[in-house]
């Protein structure tokens, strides 16, 4: 008979996050409940949490990078990134978004989080993609506009997620290292980030295909309109 009680912690997390309660509170509650159900004393639970927290301080070393990035932003880092995007001579919506994917991946690899939905997609990438799609054809209808915008959001997510682990100091890499360490395996950061490269490349290709397909669909409207 499988002991299913430990899974209550998982249920707590699922319900708690679905109810949009504070994440830290949900996680702490899940941990406390799971520990208590497993007959671990409260003091020992606190010790386990504390010990792991201290051991894993290295996961938060990205904090040391923040003053430097803050200074660069003060002197126009984002503005420079926007200029670089603006100078792209893009022929199509797909091309615009693919260039953004590239920019996002390269800057992620340097440890810079320069993109984002509110800061780049909404004000820059989505309008630029719509404008590029609009060239040489009839005005876009609402469905087409929404499709392009959704793709622009996807370009941010694709560009961001699949390049997260390329940066040698990435929080994700540090978490992986920590979990394996707790099970007795020592992993090295300088080894790990390299294994994230094939996926980064694959995601670039996948997005390029999706973009090409989207451009093709938009272009088809010209031919069908011309025939009318």
């Amino acid at each position: 008979m499988i002991d299913l009680w430990p899974l209550i912690g998982v249920a707590v997390i699922t319900v708690g996050l679905a109810l949009r309660l504070n994440t830290l509170l949900v996680i702490l509650a899940a941990g406390l409940i799971t520990g208590l159900l497993a007959n671990i004393a409260i003091v020992e639970i606190l010790s386990m949490l504390g010990a792991s927290f201290s051991k894993n301080r290295y996961m938060s070393l990205f904090i040391l990078i923040l003053p430097m990035i803050g200074v660069l932003e003060r002197y126009g880092l984002r503005e420079r990134a926007e200029t670089l995007i603006g100078t792209m001579k893009s022929a199509s919506a797909g091309r615009v978004m693919l260039s953004y994917v590239l920019l996002r991946k390269v800057t992620n690899g340097m440890g810079l989080s320069l993109g984002g939905h509110p800061s780049m997609i909404r004000p820059l990438v989505a309008p630029m993609a719509e404008a590029a799609a609009h060239k040489n054809r009839a005005p876009l209808n609402d469905n087409e506009k929404h499709r392009i915008r959704a793709l622009a959001a996807m370009s941010e997510n694709f560009g961001n997620f699949f390049s997260q682990l390329i940066f040698i100091g990435a929080g994700g890499l540090l978490l992986i290292k920590g979990v394996f360490h707790d099970s007795g395996y020592e992993l090295s950061l300088s080894d790990m980030y390299q294994w994230a490269l094939p996926t980064a490349l694959a995601s670039f290709v996948v997005f390029a295909i999706v973009g090409k397909f989207a451009d093709f669909r938009l272009m088809k409207r010209i031919s069908s309109k011309a025939e009318k």
Partner: protein, 301 residues
């Protein structure tokens, strides 16, 4: 040596907290200040105080965050005209200090025997020095700028450590074993491809449920990844781990629980269908999951 880097980080956090306390324009300066103070102390004293005391600090941090006592303030930012002018002047030189971090870290790990983490810490400090010299920025202002960014990240800054602590607690309490036993009920033994798929698809599914790949990672890896792929089949743990995490991210593309990536942008972009981004991402995300599975199958064994 790593301990020194922790001390520097802790001191930086305490500096942030001091600036927060003095920031009159921040209504929540006490909560924010205490948050960074306690967190900073946990960095400086972590190796010296008893673990249960650190555990109590974790409780305190959670309480401050959950009761909404955390907030952003004023950082004496430069205005956009200033930024545009500076950007025109510096052009791509602005990226130089940022490049120091990954380059320095990689160089350190190649040339010395010690951990890349130390390289990361040293490169970060070096990069800040270079940035300050390049821009002629006031050092105190650089701390304000760092605080600005950290306050924007907010209490989520401690999330990685938190989830790791949870993962450890879960594995001590037997969650991994339960998952492992459940999975083995359903899948045939010694079929490598099915094992790999159980891990990658399990990661994606659990991430869809929890809305966060970090949260799923500890449980699924200790429950499926390590016992089935590393121990039983002798897989390379680094490859299994990295591709496992990337498989989790595929799940993030498909779930409304990852609101910041899928639902909030739909609102920002004024889409009538709030789920349109998820629908757009579903097939490409699934393709990436299949690709990650194939990569793990081919590369890790």
């Amino acid at each position: 040596m790593l301990e020194y880097i922790y001390q520097v980080t802790g001191l930086l956090l305490i500096a942030f907290s001091m600036q927060s306390f003095l920031d009159r324009k921040n209504e929540k300066r006490l909560g924010t200040g205490f948050f960074w103070l306690i967190y900073g102390l946990s960095f400086c004293l972590g190796s010296f105080i008893p673990d249960w005391l650190t555990g109590l600090m974790i409780l305190a941090l959670t309480l401050i965050a959950a009761t909404g006592l955390f907030g952003t303030g004023n950082y004496q930012q430069s205005d956009s005209k200033f930024k545009e002018k500076q950007a025109l002047g510096f052009k791509n030189k602005l990226f130089l200090p940022a490049l120091v971090v990954p380059v320095g870290t990689i160089l350190w790990s190649q040339l010395t025997d010690s951990s890349a983490l130390i390289g990361l810490g040293l490169s970060s400090v070096l990069a800040l020095v270079i940035a300050t010299i390049l821009t002629k920025c006031n050092p105190v202002q650089s701390i304000h700028e760092g605080r600005r960014l950290l306050d924007t990240i907010g209490w989520a800054a401690i999330l990685a450590q938190f989830l790791a602590a949870l993962g450890y607690l879960f594995s001590q309490a037997g969650v991994g074993e339960t998952v492992s036993q459940l999975v083995q009920l359903f899948i045939p033994e010694n079929n490598l491809l099915i094992y790999v798929m159980a891990y990658t698809f399990g990661m994606a599914l659990f991430t869809i449920v929890m809305g966060n790949a970090f949260a799923a990672f500890a449980v699924i890896t200790t429950g499926i990844g390590i016992p089935l792929l590393v121990v039983a089949e002798g897989g390379n743990p680094a490859i299994v781990g990295v591709l496992g995490m990337l498989s989790g991210y595929c799940g993030t593309l498909m779930t409304p629980m990852a609101a910041n990536y899928n639902i909030v942008p739909a609102v920002l972009l004024e889409l009538t269908n709030k789920n349109q981004i998820i629908l757009t991402q579903f097939l490409p995300g699934l393709s990436m999951l299949v690709i990650n599975t194939a990569l793990m199958y081919v590369l890790a064994f």
